[in-house]
Amino acid sequence: MKNKLLKNDFALIAAIFVIALAAAVFGRAIGRAGDTVEVRVKGEVYAILPLDKPAELDIGGLCVLKTENGEAWIESAVCKNQICVKHRSVSRVGEAIVCLPSGVTVKITGEGGADIVI
């Protein structure tokens, strides 16, 4: 009887272990949520904002960055192609939005996660 219980114990522990590992692998694969967003203009760091509170930043009259709920996106930009404005919001460490015409880069930073996202 006890042996059967122990067998069940083992199965239960193994199952939880596997679920945790799977969650870890999945979490790794889809990337790690970032803590801050680093804004650079022509390579020079312009501002670093936390991602946890809503904020709006005018990046030198070139673009307007918004942050909320761990995400950052470009709300508007003066450039012609507007690719940065159409870009989906970024939230994972390493993800970036680039506005080439104005030299603005917005990159999610934080502990761990991907070094570069392409």
Binding site: L5, L6, D9, L12, I13, L21, A23
Partner: protein, 173 residues
Amino acid sequence: MKKEKTSAAEKIALLGLLTALCFGLSYIEFLIPFSALGIPGIKLGLANICVTAALYAIGTKEAAAINLIRIILSWLIFGSFTGLIYSLAGSALSFAGSVALKKSARFSPIGVSAAAGALHNIGQLAAAMILTDASALMYYIPVLIICGLFAGAINGFIVSAILSRVGVNYKGE
């Protein structure tokens, strides 16, 4: 602690002793510098030995009472208020899990305690995520589940040893 008729006084004394023991274990745990591992929230959960043993040897209500009093005492002596909330959330989830798994009569205290350990950490982290609005904590869940699982299994092992020594059969209800 065989299922004999016990007087109310005896029972109160026993519960008091167990609570004291439980609190003592919390204190021992407080002395172990687990934070040196660099992962917040990791601990052995020794006090759970007492709670799980009481759950098997005495009853659900009594174990719940010991658990609750232990948490409040620990908070008063060396805790912070947010710590209390985390602790309550973790314990509530893990205790509910323990009761359910024990009722199923499919697992020994080792399995019950291991699952409880994992659930405790899930509950604690969920509370932290809600209170601090830090979804980045999600990343810790797998680590904490695995740590809770191992710590719980160790505790469960100790609980089985205690139960067999005091002559409690743990086939379930």
